[in-house]
């Protein structure tokens, strides 16, 4: 017998929801190709040096050949006589504009063009503006500067010795080379734990000076319009809004008359956070000549004068029980900040977030102190994807844990597993005041060990050692603290570390999202569109991401310290949610029902119990801008703006294991394998996440084995070109192996923690631990980076020395 079914009692037949996307092309989170790629693969990116303005002139900087000298005289007569030269600007000229010195991001001042002395090799002395870049360079040769040599201060360890020349005699009351002392943790409590510990290990660990060296160097094109007093400034900048405010404060140009345009950035890694003298010179050059002025540094200028990174000499100590329970860590750091304290970091944190040197371990006590000193070297200090000195902190603790493991004859992985903060302890308050938001460490390390085949590798190592072959296995485990603010604790020159975002849905359902942060290759155009797509169900290709133009975007502090996803990503998600709430009210009006009777399914609202009575986000957008009678208090758009002040930082973590083979005859280190297991919470686009990790791993191998900005006794920079400053090529790095766990941040709207710097932070100790492990048969317990063949060979002879 056939029965007629009552169709109304059946689940409604529903069209598939197009807003869910497809596995190949998900809407919202998932692996999709990048929206920015089509222009880049066609050579249509628009980088700073691609900017050409009508009548544009070219600037070049004359730099000091000496590290420390008094300027006796500067003669620009011949340069000015060059037929193609329009202006030659010296420090004396800038003094008249009150621009010879500019404030740094660390409450110090930096010479824009030197007036009294030069304080590092490569310091800016004069600025030539000419018709083309070749003529500008020619004219530099025609400037005659007479210097009177002064003894340079190169060794940070001697910077505070009595009788050492005072580098910063420009500063009133400065009688030595001391910048700051800073501490964190409880000294007395830590000392007490050390006093009763079974085992104490100590080791001086040097994180030498390196340089982020993005492939695109720094530069600016300044275009000052004297009629309306407006400055348009194209810049390589990671922080366009902060720059605009600082220019307003420094140059006296009203903020509303300054427009910063970042364009495409050819890599930043922290190098493009600061305002460099060349940028200010370009502005002055444009004001003086009345024409646009372009200044682009060459590679030597980039390596010798813009933000270096690291340069920390760290005395590390660990207290433990004899069975391998780590009780406390203690350190004193000597921080070489160069000739001007120009590090970019939150005001209350002169050593950045170094106090997270307690690492991933549950400790009874911790104490660190940091002394900052001036030397005759380039200024800077926070750059190269370091998360505000977390990289130095992680390197120290991870190196020290290995030193302890060697002392106790314990396996370094087992020692870490024994001491991890346990999952039930989160949120975990460490001994220097950080509150780790979430973590589950042991599974990540176990996954890493399994993926690389840890036990088999140890067996292989044993066999090789018996044959005299040098193989090393290096483990590291890091916890980062990224995504600064909160603004009440964290500011840069008084600007709170928050970020704005604006989402607008146009009448046809396409959207624009405007960011305060600025990509340098991280893929913001894709990732932030995906966040909006996830929240609103709008296809990614229908969402335009606008960044890097201060006239078009909301205020915020910019991209560094892995801030973009933790801070700006949260702002975007919340702005999209505000749009959704508004859309709900409008959808209710359109469906003639109450908002509380509507349910959201990605991309559309439907009436509870009647999924066919639905309005897509696109239909609501048209309604919002159309003639729908809007509910009380709802205006006719689908826009929202949010400034996100993070309640806490986020704490990504990861486990890395590196395998190296060392040539016993030459000391050459070959990275055979590298497995990285990362946990950055929610993964918005796994392809981009992996890409960020890969890049950071190469950085880590570079710093561990090759990269080094050294100086001779006269202060000559020994890493001033790519002939000397060695960066890994495809030949020096392995095919990366990755894995992941997902532990979302509980306080972040989408649970994302940020990934931009994890691998740069976590990989150097894995590589160095592997090298030291390989050299253990020679009695080596520590060697400093860079582990070049010569330095490794020296270590094998019992002569491991610090690089500085």
């Amino acid at each position: 017998m056939t029965t007629v079914q009552d169709r109304s009692a059946m689940p409604q037949e529903r069209e598939p929801n197009p807003a869910l996307g497809s596995p190949e092309r998900p809407i919202g989170f998932g692996r999709i190709q990048r929206k920015e790629d089509p222009r880049f693969i066609r050579g249509k990116g628009r980088y700073l040096d691609d900017v050409v303005l009508p009548g544009m002139l070219h600037g070049a900087i004359l730099r000091s050949p000496l590290a420390h000298a008094r300027i006796v005289s500067i003669d620009t007569t011949e340069a000015l006589a060059h037929p193609k030269v329009h202006a030659v600007i010296t420090g004396k000229d800038l003094e008249g504009l009150n621009l010879a010195w500019a404030p740094t991001l660390s409450a110090d001042v930096q010479a824009v063009l030197a007036t009294d002395k030069v304080r590092f090799q490569g310091q800016e002395v004069a600025f030539v503006v000419a018709e083309d870049r070749y003529s500008a360079r020619d004219a530099l040769e025609l400037i005659d500067v007479e210097y009177e040599d002064l003894p340079p201060v190169i060794d940070a360890r001697r910077a505070l010795d009595p009788g050492t020349p005072v580098i910063r005699d420009d500063k009133e009351g400065q009688t030595d080379n001391h910048i700051f002392d800073w501490e964190a943790g409880d000294k007395a409590e830590t000392d007490a734990v050390f006093a009763r510990a079974d085992v104490v290990v100590s080791q001086e660990v040097v994180y030498p000076r390196v340089h982020p060296a993005p492939m695109e160097t720094c530069g600016a094109v300044a275009d000052y319009d004297p009629v309306d007093g407006k400055l348009t400034l194209y810049e390589t900048t990671q922080a366009p809004h902060a720059h605009r405010t600082l220019y307003a404060m420094v140059a006296g140009i009203p903020e509303h008359k300054i427009r910063i345009l970042a364009g495409d950035i050819g890599g930043g890694f922290g190098n493009k956070v600061g305002i460099y003298p060349g940028y200010i010179c370009a502005v002055v050059g444009s004001i003086v000549t009345g024409k646009p002025v372009k200044w682009v540094e060459d590679r030597s200028e980039n390596l010798m004068s813009t933000s270096f990174a690291r340069d920390y000499i760290m005395k590390g100590e660990v207290a433990a029980t004899k069975d391998g329970t780590i009780l406390a860590v203690r350190t004193h750091v000597l921080a070489d900040h160069g000739a001007f304290n120009a590090t970019a970091q939150p005001t209350k944190f002169p050593a950045g977030f170094f106090s997270i040197f307690t690492g991933s371990y549950d400790l009874e006590a911790a104490y660190c102190s940091v002394t900052g000193v001036y030397t005759n070297k380039a200024p800077g200090g926070v750059a190269y994807a370091c998360s505000f000195r977390v990289t130095e902190a992680v390197y120290l603790v991870e190196r020290m844990v290995d030193v302890l493991a060697q002392k106790l004859q314990m396996d370094p992985a087992e020692l870490r597993l024994k001491n991890f903060i346990r999952p039930e302890q989160f949120p975990y308050k460490n001994k220097t005041g950080w509150e780790y938001d979430s973590g589950d460490y042991a599974p990540a390390l176990r996954m890493c060990m399994e993926q690389i085949g840890y036990a088999d590798l140890r067996r292989e190592q044993e066999e090789k050692r018996a044959r005299g072959e040098l193989m090393g296995i290096g483990v590291s485990f890091f916890t980062e603290t990224v995504g600064a603010g909160p603004r009440k604790h964290m500011d840069i020159v008084g600007l709170g570390m928050a970020d704005g975002a604006e989402v607008r849905v146009h009448p046809t359902g396409k959207a624009v999202v405007r960011l305060s942060v600025q990509t340098q290759g991280q893929g913001h155009e894709t990732t932030f569109a995906q966040i909006v797509g996830e929240e609103l169900g709008i296809p990614t290709e229908d969402i335009q991401v606008v960044q890097g133009d201060t006239d078009q975007t909301p205020f915020g502090l910019g991209t560094y310290g892995s801030r973009s996803t933790p801070v700006s990503g949260a702002a975007v998600a919340l702005a999209a949610r505000k749009v959704r709430e508004k859309a709900k009210a409008i959808a209710a009006a359109m469906l003639e029902t109450r908002p509380e009777d509507l349910e959201w399914e990605k991309g559309r609202f439907f009436v509870t119990g009647d999924p066919t009575a639905a309005k897509t986000i696109q239909e609501v957008a048209l309604g919002a801008h159309g003639t729908v009678a809007l509910p009380e208090g709802i205006d006719g758009n689908l826009d929202a703006e949010v400034t996100y002040d993070p309640p806490n930082l986020t704490f990504p973590f990861g486990a890395y294991i590196c395998v190296v083979d060392v040539d016993a005859g030459t000391g050459k280190v070959k990275v055979r394998r590298f497995v990285a297991v990362d946990d950055c919470g929610t993964r918005i686009n796994p392809m981009i996440v992996e890409g960020q990790i890969h890049g950071g791993l190469a950085d880590g191998v570079g710093m561990a084995l090759m990269e080094f900005i050294g100086f001779d006794e006269q202060g000559n920079c020994l890493g001033g070109s790519f002939m000397d400053y060695l960066i890994p090529t495809a030949m020096e790095v392995p095919d990366w192996e990755t894995g992941y766990t997902v532990t979302p941040s509980p306080h972040h709207p989408i649970g994302a923690k940020g990934i931009g710097e994890s691998a740069t932070v976590g990989s150097p100790p894995a590589v160095v631990n592997a090298v030291v492990d390989a050299l253990a048969p020679f009695g080596v317990t520590h060697m400093d980076m860079p582990c070049t063949p010569a330095r490794v060979w020296e270590a094998m002879q019992g002569r491991a020395t610090p690089p500085i």
Partner: protein, 168 residues
């Protein structure tokens, strides 16, 4: 002095200073800004272009030296709307991030594949070893070039999907 050369299939003649570097000739005289400059010492390879099909670092070649030769830049990689498989491969395998080294990497890849259509990983790594990428860690570049080797006939499909998804 006057130089004449073929750039991306078209003959160009310009008056230049004898000292003008090829990279500046391409970027500033011809406005082909897809070729980038990254160091002064032939180390980084962001300036690589093809001269008579071979990769050349245009920051250390004079424009005058390429007179009478055929120069190919990133702007000449695609055939109209049809992408070169190398370009498609870089998008498929995330072979680029900031995009600055990408033109040089892609041109070296094109020269490699013209010479060796089926290169192994070691061969690819060696081919790009004169060039630096600071973003990708190279593995995805290697995969991108391998993708291009595996899809030599995908040019039509590549152009169709790409142009449909995101207009250039």
């Amino acid at each position: 002095m006057q130089v004449t050369m073929t750039v991306n299939g078209s003959e160009v003649t310009r008056d230049v200073e004898p000292r003008l570097l090829l990279v500046h000739f391409l970027r500033e005289t011809l406005g082909l800004t897809g070729t980038h400059w990254g160091c002064d010492t032939s180390n980084c390879g962001t300036c690589v272009v093809l001269v008579d099909g071979e990769p050349v670092k245009s920051c250390t070649a004079l424009a005058a030296m390429t007179a009478g030769h055929e120069v190919r830049t990133v702007e000449g990689l695609a055939d109209g709307a049809t992408l070169d498989p190398v370009q498609q491969g870089f998008m498929e395998e995330h072979g680029l991030q900031c995009g600055f080294c990408t033109p040089g990497m892609m041109l070296t890849a094109r020269a490699l594949l013209d010479r060796d259509p089926d290169p192994g990983e070691d061969v690819i790594r060696e081919a790009i070893s004169g060039q630096i990428c600071r973003c990708t860690g190279y593995a995805t570049i290697v995969r991108s070039i391998r993708w291009a080797a595996d899809h030599p006939a995908d040019r039509d499909a590549a152009a169709a999907t790409t142009d449909q998804e995101v207009p250039a």
